[in-house]
């Protein structure tokens, strides 16, 4: 149970997720065994319907496996009650989505604060943590605005800040760049990679943009029809460079630039 005792951040063994569909059964995830190391940045690739999002939901504890096991930091998610699973989601997992899924009636600050309400973080601590989280994603202003008043990239930064605010060890991103133009999408991935490096959290990202995945992830995992096709580490020449502290420094001015561009947009 001790997170530091297990060798892997995530380990799935022959995990399956089947849905009944009329008389037929959809095998969304069909026996995937996968091991992800602590601090690793893994991209899940595949056609739509390949099961990558379903796998991500299983890792997130939003969905339960039909069979097989999902072990995150030594804990088998199948053995958790729904209350424990909720606690796992709020304390150990940060998740972002293609559609951002911010709550439109809440301000930026309130959106970022929301997970802390569920985690019962003391009120006095919250404002500070909200500010910290937003600063990490390069947003320090317009905190009282509503999500709809921000650009797509900014909204995704807010949702990343929300995912970070409870200091998760596992960061899950479901097509985080899907709704963004390529330039903004790149900025978001730079941010996610940098956060992974600075906090040591494990990142699992679902995407269908192979080129982007190759640039930022350390490993590409290909799925088709709910099965694992291949798992390819990216040679350190391309993504390994980014691991250097230099890359992180490079990222910082870029982020600032991107932020101001989006603000004007």
């Amino acid at each position: 149970m001790n997170p530091s005792s297990g060798p892997h951040a995530v380990q799935t063994e022959n995990v399956c997720r089947y849905y009944p569909m009329g008389s037929a059964v959809i095998r969304a995830v069909d026996g995937i065994s996968l091991t992800i190391d602590r601090g690793e940045f893994v991209a899940l690739l595949g056609q739509s319907g390949s099961g990558k999002s379903t796998l991500l939901n299983l890792l997130a504890g939003l969905d339960r496996a039909t069979s097989g096991s999902v072990i995150v930091q030594g804990r088998d998610l199948a053995g958790l009650s729904s209350v424990e699973l909720a606690r796992y989601r709020r304390n150990d997992v940060g998740m972002v989505f293609q559609a951002f899924h911010l709550i439109s009636s809440m301000t930026i600050m309130e959106n970022v604060e929301l997970p802390m309400r569920f985690a019962e973080v003391e009120r006095s601590e919250r404002a500070q943590r909200v500010r910290e989280s937003l600063e990490r994603v390069g947003l320090g202003k317009r905190l009282e605005h509503r999500p709809s008043e921000l650009s797509g990239g900014e909204q995704q930064r807010v949702s990343i800040a929300r995912a970070l605010v409870n200091r998760p060890s596992l960061f899950l991103a479901d097509e985080p760049t899907g709704n963004l133009d390529s330039r903004t999408g790149e900025d978001i991935l730079v941010l996610i990679r940098d956060l992974s490096l600075s906090t040591g959290m494990t990142v699992v990202m679902v995407t269908h943009e192979r080129a982007l995945a190759e640039r930022f992830a350390q490993r590409l995992v290909f799925l088709a029809d709910g099965k694992l096709i291949s798992s390819q580490p990216i040679p350190s020449t391309s993504s390994g460079q980014a691991l250097s502290p230099k890359g992180e420094q490079d990222g910082a001015p870029m982020r600032g630039l991107a932020g101001s561009e989006e603000a004007r947009a």
Binding site: N57, R87, M106, L114, P115
Partner: protein, 458 residues
């Protein structure tokens, strides 16, 4: 989730669709208002009835009768008392014993005899009634013109206004201070040999077959000068006493001193008894002690009746009335409950994605359920408070309306609608409880939502 966080989120969610939630809340408040208005009408009517009885001065009074005379007062008691022959007589000795019971202040016979007032050369017939000094407190004397009796055996008379008009149609008020003459029948024990001489003008006597002859008595015509001291509009203890309406009121001790012959005196020779009372009116110092005094008198072997008995059946009537008013009032609240369910189900459908997001970032099923409960409860609370305000306004309107109606019928205004403090608290609690009940289904539906389905990219 901490409760203040839940309250805050619930409040913000309610604020999101102000119109819909506002209308639902108004729906609840109408329901609560109708319930409050109905129930407080019941309370008001009950208090009005009780006050009327209290004003009649009878809450501190026990009526006592011999079991033989009291047949028919209470059928159940009748069935219990089979052997009435042995029932003790309500005579002077019994009266004396009662007067010495703790908490008893007065024991007066009920005197109601036929009499005539001679005034201005004319004779006016009327029933003569004896009034104890405590009758001054009776509401009938609110309209007293002139004065009350100076002493309980003063040679004074108070007349009913209608009767005074017979005496002096033009200005009955001028009678006050004037002297009139009362002609009445005096109860006289039979003098030895009187039966043989046949002197009494009007005679009543025993069967004559044995020594029971002693129980007969004579009724002798007498006159008594009286000073008119006051005029009243209504007979004191009006609705509570026997059939004939008293129009001439004398201090009770005077009536006893004059030894007026009553109808009920006829019973004594028939039963072979001396002078007995038809009924005695026992006045108790404190209304709370009425039951105790009543028990003591019952123990002496007499039949008793008090307003306490009357209020028992009155209370039963009002319990049934309250129940019906409550049911009618609840109908509107039942409709409001459906409105809450509808509103919250709509909210669940609308906020599917939001619920999914909350679950994805760590909300448990219980958190989601409680959030919807909090929203239902908040609407219930607001609706309850608003409803009481509205019910209060409706009640005031009822009071004003009945006030105008009573005024048009030359009656004094009385509040028929009273909102007691307990009803305010109960209505709010009830409103919240009903709202939470209504929130049960929508909340569990929200909690059951599958986040994977709700978060699918559309």
């Amino acid at each position: 989730m901490k409760s203040y966080d839940m309250m805050e989120l619930a409040a913000r969610n309610l604020g999101q669709s102000k119109l819909r939630n506002g209308l639902t809340t108004i729906g609840i408040s109408v329901g609560v208002a109708s319930l409050v208005a109905m129930l407080s009408l019941g309370v008001g009517l009950q208090q009005l009835a009780t006050k009327r009885l209290a004003g009649s001065g009878m809450f501190d009074t026990v009526f006592v009768a011999c079991k033989v005379d009291a047949r028919g007062w209470d059928r159940e008691e009748d069935r219990k008392d089979q052997n009435l022959e042995k029932a003790p007589a309500l005579d002077e000795a019994a009266r004396d014993k009662m007067a010495h019971l703790p908490y008893v202040t007065e024991v007066e016979p009920e005197i109601r005899v036929m009499g005539e007032i001679l005034y201005g050369g004319q004779t006016h017939f009327g029933f003569v009634t004896g009034l104890p000094m405590s009758a001054r407190e009776n509401e009938a004397f609110d309209s007293l013109q002139g004065k009350f009796f100076s002493r309980s055996d003063a040679d004074e008379v108070i007349l009913l206004n209608d009767f005074a008009k017979e005496l002096d149609p033009k200005d009955p008020k001028t009678l006050i201070g004037k002297e009139v003459t009362l002609r009445y029948g005096e109860h006289q024990p039979l003098a030895a040999g009187a039966q043989a001489s046949g002197t009494p003008e009007l005679g009543a006597q025993g069967s004559g077959s044995n020594s029971n002859d002693d129980y007969g008595f004579s009724v002798v015509r007498k006159t008594q000068p009286l000073k008119v001291v006051g005029i009243i509009d209504e007979e004191p203890y009006g609705g509570m006493r026997t059939v004939s309406r008293g129009r001439i009121f004398l201090p009770v001790d005077l009536t006893e001193k004059l030894n007026m012959a009553q109808f009920s005196d006829m019973r004594s020779p028939l039963r072979g008894q001396g002078k007995t009372f038809m009924t005695l009116t026992v006045r108790v110092k404190d209304p709370a002690k009425v039951a105790q005094v009543q028990d003591a008198i019952k123990h002496m072997g007499f039949r008793t009746f008090s307003v306490l008995d009357a209020t028992k059946s009155l209370r039963r009537f009002f319990t049934v009335l309250d129940l019906f008013l409550g049911i009618f009032g609840s109908l509107a609240l039942a409709v409001a409950t459906l409105a809450i369910i509808n509103t919250l189900v709509m909210a669940v459908l609308e906020r599917r994605r939001e619920i999914g997001v909350m679950k994805a970032i760590g909300a448990s099923d219980a958190d989601v359920k409680q959030l919807f409960f909090a929203e239902a409860g908040a609407m219930g609370f607001l609706g309850g408070v608003l409803g009481i305000a509205l019910g209060f306004a409706i009640g005031k309107a009822i009071n004003i309306g009945t006030g105008i109606y009573l005024h048009n019928h030359q009656l004094p205004a009385e509040p028929v609608w009273i909102l007691p403090a307990w009803l305010i608290g109960a209505a709010i609690v009830f409103s919240i409880a009903v709202s939470l009940l209504a929130g049960l289904y929508p909340a569990s539906r929200a909690a059951r939502l599958d986040p994977v389905q709700t978060l699918k990219y559309e």
